[in-house]
Structures are given as C-alpha cells and as structure tokens.
C-alpha cells in the first residue's frame, strides 16, 4: 500500500487503485490487439525471411556480391519482430490471467510491455537510420 504526504508532514495510507469496468474493457481490448500484432508481426517476419530466400537477387547483385546493408536490414527486422511478438503475446496472456483473478499477472504484463518498448526503441531507431541513409543516398 502506498502513502501520500500530508501538509503537516505526516502521511496517510493511500487506497490501492482499482480499475473501473470501462478500463477493464480497454485492458481486455489492449490484450486482444497485442495478440493480433504478435501474430501479424510473426507472419510479416516469416514472409520477409521467405522472400529473401525466394528472391535472393534483392540482397545479391548480378556480380554475386551480397548487399550487406540489405541483409542486415532483413535480419534486424526479423529478429526484432520475433522478440516483440514474444513480449506482446506474453503481455496478452498475463492480462487474461489478471482478468481471471490473478493480480500479480498484471505486474508481469506491464513488465513485458516495458521490455517491448525497450526493444522497439532500438528497432525503430535502426529503421529510421536506414531510411535516412537511403534518402541521403538518393538525394
């Protein structure tokens, strides 16, 4: 239980926060969307990896030289998407557990969201950098 500081320096116990029905509904929706993103992300990563093998000319030039930046792009995209999908599916599962009456599961769910944001910050930063280099090259 947390405490709040009063004007006279003493503290009084703060009531634990309870979610309203509307907020619980939003949490349920968030878990559903997170699972959808996880499945969609895995599908996209699978398609990207498959396309690299089916159309190797996208990463290998006619002289047989592998375009390293393209290869790194595909590898980073697949790895970060798979990682994000794992965190998001765990978030969805733990929210469901919380909604069925397991309060500590919400802590685990929020931990997985935090890890997802950490991973996605690096992935999005890398994607922005690659796009910037591509624009710079074509200017």
């Amino acid at each position: 239980m947390t405490t709040t500081e009063l004007d006279d320096g003493t503290s009084e116990p703060q009531q634990p926060v309870a979610l309203t029905d509307w907020q619980l509904g939003r949490l349920r929706k968030a878990a559903g969307w997170a699972r959808f993103v996880a499945i969609g992300g895995l599908t996209a990563a699978g398609l990207a990896a498959a396309a690299t093998f089916v159309f190797p000319e996208q990463i290998i030039t006619s002289d047989g030289v592998v375009v390293v930046s393209q290869l790194i792009d595909v590898i980073v995209f697949c790895a970060s998407t798979i990682g994000a999908a794992v965190f998001l599916s765990r978030y969805g599962r733990n929210v469901t557990l919380y909604l069925t009456g397991d309060p500590p599961a919400l802590t685990r769910a929020f931990r997985h969201v935090r890890r997802f944001f950490m991973l996605w910050t690096f992935a999005a930063g890398f994607a922005a950098l690659m796009q910037f280099l591509s624009v710079w090259k074509n200017f």
Partner: protein
C-alpha cells in the same frame, strides 16, 4: 438454487450465475505493476522521440521522391507508402505522448493515471495492428509487382 416443484428440473441460468447478485471484488492494480509503469516512462519517451525522427525522415523521403524527374504514375506506389507510413507514425506518436504523460504522472505518485495508460496501450496496439496489416499488404503488393515485372522481362527476352 431456487426451490422448484420438480426435483429433476435442470438448474436455471440465474442459479448458475453466482456473481449476479453479490457485489464483485474490485480489480486492484498491485503496487509492483504501478512501479513497472513508472519505470517504463523513460523508454516510452525515447520511443516517442525515435518515432518523431522517423516521421521527419518520412517527410524528407517524400520530398526526395517528389523532386525526382520521373513519370508521375511511377510515383504512386512510393508516395502511397510514404503517406501510409507518415499517418501511422503520427498516430503512434500521439498515443506514445499520451502514454508518456500518464507514466510521468504515476512517477510523481498520481496512481489514478493507470486508467489513462491502459487507454493509451489499447490505442497504441490498435494503431500498430493497422500498421502491421497495411505494411504487410503494401509489401505483398511490391512482391507481386516485382514478380510480374520479372515475368514480363523474361517474356520479352524470349
């Protein structure tokens, strides 16, 4: 269970709904969960900055595409891609800023912001889901266009 005249009568739906009459336990958010949300504030802020940078690069990319002297019909696909990217990035940025603001409120000790965070999470994942579907469709479209172009090249070569 309600008393009935027939002892072999199956239970009524209301009899099985144990919670229908009794007050439900409030769904309390554990303190550790609030701490996780507060810890995540810095990363959400960083992701918001990276998303803003991505948005800026998208705008640069649009300028670069428009400045190229090519057939306007050839620009449709890249411009559609850039427009979709920019819209999605702007929506994600909006929800991330809302999320970061609510996380900062929790860091300051205002635990009631948890509802705002839950709303921001739901919105963020919904926009991300739309981005995943749009991105996959656009990417498939590019692959199909590539395969068709390869076939046409082979036919002309033969």
């Amino acid at each position: 269970m309600a008393i009935t005249t027939n002892p072999f009568e199956p239970p009524r739906t209301l009899d099985l709904d144990a919670a229908s009459g009794a007050p439900r336990e409030p769904m309390v958010v554990p303190k550790a969960a609030l701490n996780e949300l507060a810890d995540g504030a810095a990363w959400v802020r960083r992701l918001a900055r990276v998303t803003a940078a991505f948005l800026a690069v998208d705008v640069l990319s649009a300028i670069a595409t428009l400045s190229r002297p090519v057939d306007p019909m050839m620009m449709i696909t890249p411009l559609l891609g850039i427009a979709a990217d920019t819209t999605i990035a702007a929506l994600l940025l909006m929800s991330l800023r809302r999320y970061a603001y609510a996380s900062e409120r929790i860091q300051r000790g205002d635990d009631s912001a948890v509802g705002q965070i839950v709303g921001a999470q739901s919105y963020y994942f919904k926009v991300t889901a739309i981005a995943v579907v749009l991105g996959t469709c656009l990417w498939l479209w590019k692959v199909i266009a590539y395969v068709v172009a390869c076939r046409l090249r082979l036919e002309h070569g033969a």
